[in-house]
Symmetry: C2
Subunit: 395 residues, 2 copies
């Protein structure tokens, strides 16, 4: 087998003294593979092939070390759940270890179709070039399907490109999924006929696992132009199956609900860039939603830049995707955000669109005007970041 | 609708000053429901029904406060993903908030069949009473299906009750799932014929989401006596569907892989008892594996007791389940563990069974002898804990 000697790489950050961190790096090689007493392994194939290898180990800062560990590609069985398990399964139960980056080998990347549209495909679909995309969320929970559809219509009229369900919209009696999808899809289609634009409505399909495909197909059939999926709620593998379903062939926007615990503690878990960038792309996200720096959540500017990097870093043929910062963004912040993110970004403004004093449609127009005032000559920092690639060894 | 005024309760621990924690508790009420500017909500049904309510707020210790927040049951749409979202979706992205306990209402508990066997049912199935159950894991990854089956035979001969796959066994070429299941199931059946016991083999079925049901059915058809599921790898909803599948009707053992980030930071995430006790039961686990205190992981004795409490606390008709501590346990530690856990526990010993100097079968016998030396009059601390119930208000 040509792939049997292929290896992939995970860069871990390990906190503690040098000796403790090095011992822990060596421990990870066993814990994530054989989970078996080292002294009982013997000297054969299991030791030489199955067990992870510390490929490099160096100080990251005064309190932590960076260890690159390689694993044989075939221990993943070439399936997402076991890939996640090798990267971080058991050691998620240990403090002071953080997954900083992953560098997957060709045979593993082959498991994934990746983002179907990515940045270029989504622009083509929406026919929007040379500026950031605009996104909003239909809310609040408790409104009827008719009320949400009216809102969707106004937002599409006002120039929003992507009108998604709030991720708290599931199949509640206030606005059952099917009625909501039919009404909101029609409302956006009507606005599109009036404006000549190609705005899309993206319903939230994070249903129980046996109903996800059905909801997604219903949405497709009734004119939804994309799908919102929260893999923390409905499962990462379930999201992969939705994005790769050729009968759907819709853009997929990923929401971070319930995934925050992986990233919020800087000395453990998984880096922002891996979770909301690299893993998002494995799952087939075309855009990845996360709370922007300076909003009501706690992500720093550096953590947001890390996401942009993960959304763009070279991963075989997997497309680059849109970062979609949101979380309490107001219209006033858009110019500053555009300066940092450049053009290849989706601005998600929710409640901020409903600020008093103007209609929703007028607020949307103002929003659109704000971002189109900026010329294309602005720097696109994440393009530059992406070009730098990861410092990980190539497998 | 009789259920429309029903509410359920989540106890959060919030870290910070009193004023900041109280402000955050009030913020959670909005963040987890409408995610909309408070001043724009108006005074109608959405404010009175949809938004969460702070039911109590008090100091937990010098650095944190305990807030019980109630939510209308019907905002969950009576589906697991949206229930998880209301409990902790967006606020997982914030530091300094921890879910300490959940108290679900009847209409929400009705979504779940819960553990099919639980402690009593699993004892009946295995025909083992009056002592802890014994469990081991087939490992290491890299062994062939024939080698793993030989190991399964020896363990079943030696008196192990539950012989599960190591959770790193998926569908790798060393021991493909189907061959492994057929061989290991046969091996355990053969040992059972020889010993008169009713040991079970539990293969790991955390496959990609469209293959889970197929693997589970294959396992059932070929004589597996139970299933091992890692919801962190294959999705919580997927696990619920497996456990509730009446065509399977097999005991389900839950593995914590990839879920550690929710619990390892004491000032954020989800408590051990909620994740590995209460949520495990919602997903239908009959036994919940976690790393024991004092092993190679970091859980404290109190955190382990918290799991035992979550495994036993009253949750409507949902059965109590077995705590299954493991993670580097050696035979020497069993007597001390039995003192803490009492009889209603499953001791998981993996690599420790392969200690040099004796055969696997002899080690298993020694293991069994160790735990049966202890009389039934030992205190069962978690039964007492369970009887205390939660201090949460009843919905």
């Amino acid at each position: 087998m040509t792939s049997s000697n292929e290896r992939f790489y995970v860069q871990y950050r390990i906190f503690g003294t040098k000796n403790a961190a090095l011992a822990r790096a060596k421990h990870i090689c066993f814990e994530q593979t054989v989970e078996f007493p080292q002294e009982l392994i013997g000297g054969g194939y299991i030791r030489s092939h199955i067990i992870g290898r510390v490929e490099s180990f160096e100080a990251a800062d005064k309190k932590s070390f960076s260890a690159v560990i390689s694993y044989a590609a075939d221990i993943t069985g070439f399936e997402l759940p076991q890939l996640l398990n090798v990267i971080f399964g058991n050691i998620s139960l240990l403090p002071a270890i953080r997954v900083e980056a992953i560098n997957l080998s060709p045979s593993i990347l082959n498991i994934f179709d990746g983002p179907r549209f990515g940045i270029r495909g989504l622009r083509r679909l929406l026919n929007v070039y040379g500026r950031p995309l605009l996104c909003t969320a239909l809310k609040p929970l408790g409104k009827s399907a008719a009320e949400l559809a009216e809102l969707a219509y106004l937002c599409a009229r006002g120039g929003i490109d992507i009108i998604k369900d709030d991720h708290g919209l599931a199949n509640q009696r206030y606005a059952f999924f099917k009625e909501r999808v039919v009404r909101c899809s029609r409302a956006v289609a009507k606005a599109n006929r009036e404006t000549g634009r190609r705005a899309i409505y993206c319903p939230h399909i994070s249903a129980p696992s046996d109903e996800i495909a059905g909801r997604a197909m219903f949405a497709k059939k009734h004119g939804a132009g994309g799908l919102l999926v929260s893999p923390g709620l409905c499962g990462m593998s379930a999201m992969q199956k939705v994005s790769e379903n050729n009968a759907l062939a819709l853009p997929v926007i990923m929401h971070p609900a319930f995934l925050g615990s992986y990233v919020v503690n800087p000395a453990s878990g998984i880096s922002h860039g891996v979770m909301f960038g690299q893993i998002a792309r494995l799952l087939g996200a075309d855009a990845t939603i996360y709370p922007n720096y300076g909003g009501r959540f706690s992500f720093s500017m550096d953590e947001c830049k890390n996401i942009v990097r993960g959304a763009n870093v070279k991963m075989g043929k997997l497309r680059s995707i849109f970062p979609c910062p949101g979380g309490g963004m107001t219209l006033e912040r858009i110019p500053g955000m555009q300066k940092m993110y450049g053009n290849d970004v989706i601005f998600l403004v929710g409640g901020g669109l409903f600020a008093p004093g103007a209609s929703v449609e007028e607020n949307c127009r103002y929003f659109l005007k704000l971002i189109t005032k900026f010329p294309l000559t602005l720097p696109s920092p994440h393009r530059v970041e992406g070009a730098k690639r990861s410092s990980l060894p190539v497998g």
